[in-house]
Amino acid sequence: MEPMHDEHVNVTPLIDVIMCLIIFFLVAGHLAKETNIKSIIIPRANYSLEMADQDGRLPINIVPAGTSDAVPGAPKDPATLYMEPEVWIRGQRQPMADLAVYLRKEKKETPNIKIILRADQDVPYQWIAPVLVACAQADIKSVNFSTRDQ
């Protein structure tokens, strides 16, 4: 009697590929969470472009006080907008007063650093200006405003 052949489809390569995809999405999602705060509603613009050169990117997230864990699009208390916002860089909260020192160190380590400024559209300019000044003090010329299409 001849040995019986296994009539089932071999799903092992399929599972391998799917597992790789899941790990990819998990890691990508984790990295995205670490660098970007999701509760920020970035401003709209018509003439923004995609950044071709990804080297030296440093996203700076500016979130209205106490809203970094809020659901995206949740209504904001107008009073919080005029309080000092939270500044998040690489998943760590940074005091705004120490930003110039922090950025100087980053500039020393990465000379071609490019700042990606991710600020909420409702944050008043009084809290944006100190970040721009800190970049200028750290001798960082490339400051890019993160925007979304209309």
Binding site: M1, P3, M4, H5, D6, E7, H8, V11, L14, I15, I18, M19, L21, I22, F25, L26, A28, G29, A32, I42, P43, R44, A45, N46, Y47, S48, L49, E50, M51, Y82, A100, I116, R118, A119, D120, Q121, D122, V123, P124, Y125, Q126, I128, A129, L132, V133, C135, A136, Q137, D139, I140, K141, S142, V143, N144, F145, S146, T147, R148, D149, Q150
Partner: protein, 153 residues
């Protein structure tokens, strides 16, 4: 010789079902992220002691257009150094009237004209970006931001 029975290995079907569900979940989750683009700028760097001051080693532009932004109630007003006064759109998006104004100024001014955006401390970031977006669309080459509350003449 031992016979191999059909389907003697573990049943992978439930595992494949679950793994497929997880994969679809992550794929859809990543779809919902808003694609972000960038408005690039080149800041003029300053020494620590000269923040908000004049930059002395820059070539003097032929024309300087100062755009002051002020918040009154829930409206942002744009006042140009040429006497223009515009109430910006409250819709929270780039204002076509601002873009049209800046485009008109660009064609009237010299190629080396410099724009200084001077927002008041209460002006929302969206309105600052709307004006900067208008400058980019009008192809102004020199655009600078003044620190909040710093009066630029």
């Amino acid at each position: 010789m031992m016979e191999r029975k059909a389907g003697s290995g573990p049943n992978m079907t439930p595992m494949v079902d679950v793994v497929m569900c997880i994969l679809i979940f992550f794929m859809l989750g990543s779809e919902f992220l808003v694609p972000e683009k960038l408005l690039a700028s080149d800041l003029q760097t300053l020494s620590a002691g000269s923040v908000g001051g004049e930059i002395l080693n820059q070539p003097v532009p032929a024309v300087r257009l100062v755009l002051k932004l002020e918040r009154r109630g829930d409206v942002t007003w744009l006042a140009g150094s040429d006497g223009t006064l515009l109430a910006m759109d409250k819709a929270g998006k780039p204002d076509p009237a601002v873009a049209a104004f800046l485009s008109g100024k660009k064609s009237a001014l010299s190629a080396t004209a410099e724009v200084i955006i001077s927002p008041g401390s209460r002006v929302p970031y969206q309105d600052v970006i709307s004006v900067y977006d208008g400058c980019v669309s009008a192809r102004f080459k020199q655009v600078a931001f003044s620190p909040a509350g710093k009066v630029v003449e």
